[in-house]
């Protein structure tokens, strides 16, 4: 039974990789045939070669490490601050009325563009990147936490009331577990925002990490290298998603 589960888990990944490979082959053929422009899209085979080169020459692992560190730090800060804020928003109607629209605006605003201000405030370093990323990633967790709690089924709350549960029990044993999948949706959204922000700011201010590398390679007109570096960003984001998925299914199996 365990083996069957493994196979079932692996099937989507296999199909995903196979279709990616198929797309790469098609792109390669179209580029070779001259249908697609090689100055805009490099040959996938060149990108593959560049992947190896980046590992050898550009110290990609420590760059990935730095980017991952910045994303994880801001990502966990977002959870730490966002979930309680979402709970407060759910609990106090006045607070919700006062803050909900602002948070929506915050989620939509292109805060990345305010990076010069943050640089002045917090200096040129990972700290600034983490803070910008935190601000940018906060809203989805807050809003989704609030939404998840609000969507708790009434009959579940009634079961709790009929058992005379205390408010604390009601929160930890009914509201929170009921909202958890929605909260995780918020976390996934937030972490995507965080990753994009970290890489974008690294790119814009030429500061450490993968974003910086993409910028450098692009300035050198090393297109295969730039695409290879972007591939590492994608790998990183896949890594985050797998970790989040694991945590969620550990917390709530078979949900």
């Amino acid at each position: 039974m365990a083996e069957r589960t493994r196979l079932r888990d692996l099937a989507p990944i296999t199909v995903g990789i196979a279709s990616l490979a198929a797309i790469a082959v098609v792109a390669e053929l179209l580029l070779l045939a001259g249908v697609l422009n090689r100055y805009i899209l490099p040959l996938p085979s060149d990108v593959l070669v560049a992947l190896v080169r980046l590992v050898r020459e550009e110290d990609i692992l420590s760059r990935m490490g730095l980017t991952a560190f910045e994303v994880l730090t801001s990502g966990f800060l977002v959870i730490l601050a966002g979930v309680p804020l979402g709970v407060l928003l759910y609990r106090f109607r006045l607070m919700r009325a006062a803050l909900e629209d602002w948070l929506g605006a915050l989620a939509a605003a292109p805060i990345v563009l305010a990076f010069p201000l943050f640089l002045v405030l917090f200096g040129r370093g990972p700290k600034t990147i983490i803070i910008i990323s935190f601000v940018y990633g906060l809203a989805p967790v807050v809003l989704k936490t609030q939404e998840g709690l609000t969507a708790t089924r009434r009959v579940h709350v009634n079961v709790g009331r009929s058992l005379n549960m205390t408010p604390a029990q009601m929160f930890w044993k009914i509201l929170f577990p009921s909202a958890l999948p929605t909260i995780f949706t918020g976390i996934r959204l937030s972490w995507t925002f965080c990753l994009v922000t970290v890489v974008a700011v690294e790119f814009l201010v030429n500061l450490g990490g993968l974003g910086h590398l993409i910028n450098e390679l692009a300035e050198r007109y090393d297109m295969p290298g730039a695409y290879a570096a972007i591939t590492f960003v994608i790998l990183l984001s896949m890594g985050f998603f797998i970790v989040l998925e694991r945590i969620q299914s550990w917390l709530q199996p078979e949900r």
């Binding site: 079961v159 009929s162 009921s178």
Partner: protein
């Protein structure tokens, strides 16, 4: 045992209105009846007559009504500890396995894990779900989920058992067999039981008395005594006496049900009437 703890349920002149002014609906209109210690009473009535409203009032989940509900001599204001409720809607917790769903009320009371799982297993077996303890609700059928919520309520061994159409999602065979189980448990624990239903067979099979409700506003139409011998099993369904009771209550219920249907039809007709 103190007088207030006596499992004696009294519904005294209960009236519940939804909304106010001319728009107000009277969902329950001056209902009065009682359920004596150890007695099994069913409330039957057509869909929309106010049964769930009454259920929520007795369970202490719905305030702001007139009249009173008493357990023994005590007027209830909020959920009473000796009342256990089974809800009409599917109410299992999807994030808990069957065993942890059923053990939930014991967990709240701080019963150690081994003991609460032991007791939960007993009730899981009783509702015929042995072998499904580690499953999650998403892996069960609708009827199985409903049996999980029944077991979750029974595990606290409440003195007063309150059920709102608990068998509605079950097929007839399972319904009859589970009815037997409920009766068995009810007799064993000498539980005072109030069952809300719209199923005639079920009501006659299980009850000592049946409270028939009218359709809109929900009033008490009649109380029928069911003098079938106890202990009773689902085999009683084949007897002549059973058939007489069903026919008798059906003739009462028919008027109400058809006025309910007519109501629905006029509403639909009004909605579909061409304009101009």
């Amino acid at each position: 045992m103190s007088a207030s703890a006596e499992p004696y349920l009294v519904i005294d002149n209960v009236l519940k209105r939804f909304g106010s002014g001319p728009e107000a609906t009277v969902a329950v209109d001056h209902m009065s009846f009682d359920v004596k210690p150890g007695e099994f009473v069913s409330v039957i009535g057509p869909s929309g007559c106010g049964k769930s409203t009454l259920f929520n009032i007795i369970g202490g989940l719905l305030g702001d009504y007139e009249g009173e509900v008493r357990v023994g001599a005590e007027r209830i204001s909020g959920p009473h500890p000796s009342i256990g409720m089974v809800f009409q809607e599917e109410s299992t917790f999807p994030w808990r396995s069957v065993i942890d769903n059923v053990a939930f009320p014991l967990e709240l009371r701080g019963v150690p894990k081994a003991e609460r799982h032991d007791r939960a297993h007993h009730f899981i077996d009783m509702v015929g779900l042995s072998g499904f303890a580690k499953h999650y609700p998403s892996q069960l059928s609708g009827g199985m989920k409903q049996r999980v919520s029944i077991a979750r309520t029974l595990v606290s061994e409440p003195q007063i058992l309150l059920m709102d159409e608990p068998f509605a999602a079950l097929d007839e065979q399972t319904r009859l067999l589970l009815g037997d189980k409920i009766l068995q448990i009810q007799q064993q624990l000498n539980q005072t039981t109030l069952l809300i239903t719209h199923n005639l067979t079920e009501a006659v099979q299980l009850s000592d008395r049946i409270v028939v409700m009218t359709y809109r506003p929900g009033r008490l139409k009649r109380i029928v005594n069911i003098d079938l011998p106890r202990p009773r099993t689902s085999e009683v369904v084949g007897s002549d006496a059973f058939g007489h009771y069903v026919a008798e209550i059906w003739s009462d219920l028919r008027e109400e049900a058809s006025s309910g249907m007519m109501d629905a039809e006029t509403t639909a007709a009004r909605r579909n009437r061409p304009r101009g």
